[in-house]
Point group: C2
Chain length 390, copies 2
């Protein structure tokens, strides 16, 4: 089981901090946006004397607020179409384990969110990577190319829309192709939509909105990014497929319930509707633009302006991104500051891919993003001059 | 995947409640004891503006308080011997998945905590049941009998001490036998010790205290019962085996972290030490005695007085415990009251076993336990007279 590329450099970062170096964290998708006060208020005013087991599906108040939220997106859901999970992580794990047995295969478009891999390894499922290319803006390959990877053991494909780590938002024609493949081969579409609100042009479409896909569509959702609630560990699995949801409920029973207090707080938050989203998205648009523009000024860096999420997957003019990213923490500093990146290879299943790519999470304010990228620029220059040895 | 025997009758119970019938819940191990105020105080005074991702291993304050707690049990642990989990459930799942691949086998002594089964099914692990008998007080069978179940695919045995559902506390000679088998066959001992404090005679011994077992002993722990914090979902995996703990940390990274607020609250709770335990245990001793004495008065009921946890596994003079337990909710009431039980078969992997057994959780105060058992007594009488059809 590989260490998380998002977290593996943390010990080196800790050492740098001990030396007094400030580290800009572009490695992890941890927003600095404040968690809305409704969450704290609801948690603090919880008056029950016992923090008791809750219903395995989730507490009613929270499920109903999620129904209202989806309703506001014009996605009507039944009460039993939702099972509350411990973060998007548990949603992903439950969904993967429900559709695939050990030895079964799930297609995943690489680069992909690295933790899919962890859950696959834990459960003996084989992830079959289907390549997407930086030059195509990491959009899906043609349907024939996707279908070429399907075998009798393929049970599902995972899409992440908007995408972590690429920031790509799928077009309607891509989602139509996904539907056609899913229906033709009778496989599930597991759609990671935790960045749904983070779209800077146009709008993203949920798999739950695709006609004809009702029995094949599964959404893995999370409140972490939407409400800056990463440490709350609140998510959900959503599907209109009855037998799939029966399995979700049984998995839910196996781990008894999700945490009570966070569900109370989350119910209050979600009931607030969209009021926090607009301000948050315009803030992230500024961050994206600041980060992207600063990257454009670095000779040899290649990336496209992402349409969604809060990541940029960029190609770096270095020999080995793992070595470079480590070196930034162990050997480099400028004005006693440096930047932590998430090296690309961890986002690929195919050995050798991503060797000169890194994911940058623009989760700091715009001036900090600019400074963090400036440090990357200086780092590249120094790293390459040191390593050139001429 | 089977529905949880602890929760499967809940819909029938809900229907009974809708009819105005009061239901005594002896089915689920949900204590009515108040969660100590230190938990609420710490959660309410948390001042960070962002509920951010925490360290995957757990937050330092909580891990250190767990070290102190184990130190107070004369079990010295290193900081990295502990990984905080989302409840004992995640601890069990992580531990099982770390030691066994799909198709591998883990021995489990039946009757056993039903959710081991859920995690085995989710991960393709085969649970191999080793029978224990009510007549032996559900103590372990002889070592030769245990060893007879070991194959080249056996990776571990699970013990639960004190035991859910039987209330049995393992003797030192049993633990020595467990150690000998584990060392001889080089398999892990996964020890579920969430009821550690709930011992009414003598003291229970942790696998972490067994000399020579350092590299094979894994404890799956939880704060749920100890601090009446079931809905907090706070647990831990503990081992001195370095490579096992490396896997724990990587599993931990795959799901990012446990919930922040509950860790803050739990750190404060655990730091209080043993101050809540004595009062709680004497309360539970009264409940055990009340429940056991009342059961002794029912003709045909067979059970032993349990030494630990808060469960009694009793044999019932009925034809089919599933049918009887359902009937208690659908057809029976006395003074508009009835009792919900957890039917025995769900605690067994071997088909046909447990058909006339049920688990009773004495988590209500003594008078309520007495009344709940009285209802069981009247229920048995009525059920058998209705079903005798003579």
């Amino acid at each position: 089981m590989p260490a998380s590329p998002i977290r593996k450099l943390v010990p080196l970062g800790d050492d740098a901090k001990k030396r007094g170096t400030h580290v800009y964290h572009l490695n992890i998708g941890q927003p600095d946006i404040e968690t809305p006060p409704e969450f704290y208020d609801a948690v603090r005013s919880y008056q029950e004397k016992v923090i008791a087991y809750g219903n395995s599906q989730g507490i009613r108040l929270f499920i109903e607020s999620m129904q209202q939220y989806y309703d506001s997106l014009s996605i009507p859901l039944g009460y039993n179409d939702i099972v509350i999970t411990t973060g998007g992580s548990e949603a992903i794990m439950f969904a993967m384990m429900a559709v695939a047995q050990p030895g079964d295969e799930i297609l995943v478009f690489e680069p992909f969110y690295t933790n899919y891999n962890g859950f696959a390894i834990m459960s003996g499922i084989t992830l079959v990577p289907v390549a997407t290319q930086a030059e195509d803006g990491f959009h899906l390959p043609p349907a024939e190319e996707i279908a070429r990877h399907i075998t009798p053991r393929t049970r599902a494909m995972i899409i992440c829309n908007p995408n972590n780590p690429t920031g790509t938002v799928l077009r309607d024609d891509e989602l139509d192709a996904v539907r056609d493949i899913a229906l033709r081969h009778d496989i599930f579409v597991l759609s990671d939509e935790v960045y749904r609100e983070f779209v800077y042009e146009g709008r993203t479409k949920s798999v739950l909105e695709i006609d004809g896909l009702e029995q094949h569509a599964v959404v893995m959702d999370s409140l972490s990014k939407r409400y800056s609630l990463c440490g709350g560990r609140m998510g959900a699995v959503i599907s209109r497929n009855r037998s799939f949801m029966d399995v979700m409920l049984r998995f839910g029973q196996a781990r008894l319930c999700a945490a009570t207090l966070e569900q109370i707080g989350s119910a209050a938050l979600v009931a607030e509707g969209a009021k926090y989203f607009d301000g948050m998205i315009s803030e992230y648009r500024q961050r994206r633009d600041a980060t992207f523009d600063a990257l454009q000024n670095i000779p040899g860096i290649l990336c496209r302006k992402p349409s969604g999420a809060f990541y940029i997957m960029a190609q770096f003019p270095v020999d080995d991104i793992e070595r470079f990213a480590s070196w930034m923490l162990t050997d480099f500093s400028d004005g006693n500051e440096t930047t932590m990146l998430a090296p690309g290879p961890g986002f690929y299943a195919t050995p050798g891919r991503g060797m000169n790519e890194a994911r940058l999470a623009y989760v700091l304010n715009a001036p900090e993003c600019r400074r963090a990228v400036e440090l990357v620029a200086r780092g590249i220059e120094e790293y390459n001059s040191v390593n050139r040895k001429d």
